[in-house]
Amino acid sequence: MLCREATRPLDGELMLDHAEALSRCANGDRAALKALFEAEAGRLIAVAERILRRRDVAEEVVQDAFIQIWRKADQYSADRGSARGWIYAVVRNRALNVLRDGRREDLADEADLTRLSETANLHDDRVLDRLDATSRLRQCLQQLDEAKRRSLLMAYMSGYTHGEIAGRMNVPLGTAKAWVRRGLSALRECMG
């Protein structure tokens, strides 16, 4: 328990009201954009890097994403769900577009074994330990069997395709697709 507390991901930036900052961005308040940058840029780069596996490309993606956030902040409203989630999605979408745009080969060049094994660690239960003990997502992921859980984590955290999941898990493509589909459907049900 103590260990879990120590690695809880939430810290100082909880003080920031992301929705309010976005609304100030929409009104042209650059200080609000800076506040978002200071609170989130470090973690956003890490999220992009998990997908792209290169720090420099991850920083480019975050840079472009912040400009996008600035320009389309008025598209966010409270009925769109979590403001913080919306911000992370802008970065994730940008990273995934870069990844899916055929730049993957450049990206793979520098992936060495150490980093690949670090990536592999993202997909096991150590990730779940970093989620809050009361997290509904954590409970629902724990209810999935390991193959489905790992498939979903590979897709979300590392941007793996169905084919890459199948390759990494050493199963036919159809099996990987079925794991993902059933895992997603079970999660939807579990999380309501």
Binding site: P9, R30, G42, W70, S82, R92, L137, S185
Partner: protein, 247 residues
């Protein structure tokens, strides 16, 4: 006429939203979803929910220290934008505005928009099927007034059209369904053939028309047996849809 909901549609929408949020779609599918998000409220809601479901995983990433120049670059770009005058393009600004007094058009437009999620699900499904059949020049998903998808129309541009009903439709005795398209305003609506039985069929005796275009209107009306006596649609409109080109 009776039409029943196909329960798959809602399920497929949620699945598509999840796969988009997870990042499992390829570049083309991602672009299609992003287009549809601009005007499809159901899909947007599903994507918003999917995003929030997984967002906690983002927070497990260990923050790193950004390069010193990163904020400067962003600030410079943001400043340029403000100096450009009133920028901040919004999704709402891009929406099609229809004359408020044109209720019929408006209603149909909303219905057609509501059908976009369904057609997108179908389009992504089609993309994933191995292409063993000749591909259609355009595909339209015809929806009823409530936005419920009724029929897929695939126009091959060679006087043949495949019609695939998605729900059960009963036509009163002595009447028949007729498929129309509107190649352009000047030509007016043109009959592509009669749909005698609500089953998948190829209408292969259509008129010689210019190659079908994206956004071309297709619709089905209920006409007397043997088809409209005037050569133009006269009966109740069963479903309408605007064509898309398969990618």
């Amino acid at each position: 006429m009776t039409s029943t909901t196909t329960p798959m549609d809602g399920q497929n929408l949620l699945e598509l939203a999840d796969e988009y949020a997870l990042g499992l779609l390829d570049a083309q599918e991602r672009a299609q979803v992003e287009d549809a998000l601009l005007h499809d409220d159901d899909l947007r809601r599903a994507v918003d929910n999917a995003r929030d479901r997984f967002h906690e995983l983002d927070l497990t990433a260990e923050p790193v220290t950004p390069s010193p120049h990163l904020w400067e670059n962003i600030e410079t770009a943001a400043a340029e934008r403000v100096d450009d005058g009133p920028p901040l393009p919004s999704a709402s600004g891009a929406r099609t505005v229809t004359a408020a007094n044109d209720n019929a058009v408006r209603r149909w437009r909303w219905a057609a928009l509501a059908g976009i999620a369904a057609s997108l699900v179908l389009a992504v499904g089609l993309l994933r099927m191995p292409s063993t059949t000749p591909s259609a020049a355009v595909i339209a998903v015809l929806v009823d007034e409530a936005g419920e998808p009724l029929v897929i129309v695939e126009d091959f541009g060679d006087r043949s059209t495949r019609v695939t009903p998605l729900v059960d439709v009963t036509v009163p005795a002595g009447q028949t369904m007729q498929l129309w398209t509107l190649p352009d305003e000047e030509t007016g609506p043109v009959s592509l053939g009669l749909i005698e039985e609500p089953e998948t069929m190829i209408l292969d005796d259509g008129p010689q028309l210019p190659a079908p275009q994206a956004d071309q209107l297709y619709e089905i009306t209920i006409e007397q047996d043997g088809g409209s006596p005037t050569g133009r649609p006269t009966g109740e409109i069963l479903g309408k849809g605007f064509a898309k080109q398969p990618r």
